[in-house]
Symmetry: C2
Subunit: 125 residues, 2 copies
């Protein structure tokens, strides 16, 4: 059995600069994880539907969606699960939704490092 295809899911925006930031955020993962892709919930392409349909067409059946969100709001609690249910029904694929990346402690550590680099030191270390 093949491992599931990883899909990094960003919200999407009509603002190209916004999407460019997410493409840069996704790049290390896309380089490291074979077959992984980025997809957008809305307002930008490729959409989640496009990426799932293309994957199914090329023989994949199992997908894991990793949301490029810091926290879970309405989109991840309601909208994305509803999209997943429809896509599973229409394609026969199996689609797992991971927690948003921001729920992983690694992100908090990275934010600390970003701030520390900005201020040039850890103030109380």
């Amino acid at each position: 059995m093949n491992s599931p295809r990883i899909i990094l899911l960003a919200h999407g925006s009509s603002d190209k600069r916004w999407c460019a930031t997410f493409e840069a955020l996704a790049e290390p993962t896309l380089k490291a994880v074979s077959g992984s892709r980025i997809a957008y919930m809305e307002l930008a392409e490729p959409s989640l539907s496009t990426v799932i349909h293309e994957g199914v067409t090329s023989g994949d059946r199992d997908f894991t969606i990793v949301p490029l969100f810091l926290a879970a709001g309405r989109h991840l609690r309601k909208d994305v699960p509803a999209m997943i249910q429809r896509l599973e029904e229409t394609t026969g694929a199996s689609i797992k939704l991971s927690p948003p990346v921001g729920e992983d402690p690694l992100l908090g550590d990275a934010i600390r490092d970003v701030v520390a680099l900005q201020i040039g030191q850890y103030s109380n270390r």
Copy 2:
């Protein structure tokens, strides 16, 4: 001259779970950087206005806002700069707005590590 107070700015939500995720994201920074605080743009407390006013009251004049956002949309391009301008006018403080944390390559690397841990390996390394 004191170094600027670091304020981690999250969007805010009426959903306590959403705020709890941002408090967890902020925790490593709040522990590492003396005097740093979290603030919310809207829908949750402490607001940015509250944190700036409290800082000014206790003698701070320089603040650096680090947005806990993955990318800059309308909020960071328009709403937050407008809030900063009003707060500078009303308090006399000097407030710098940093890029959103998601624009730092460290975040993309952390996301790669989150995904790699989820799948148990780097598929093509």
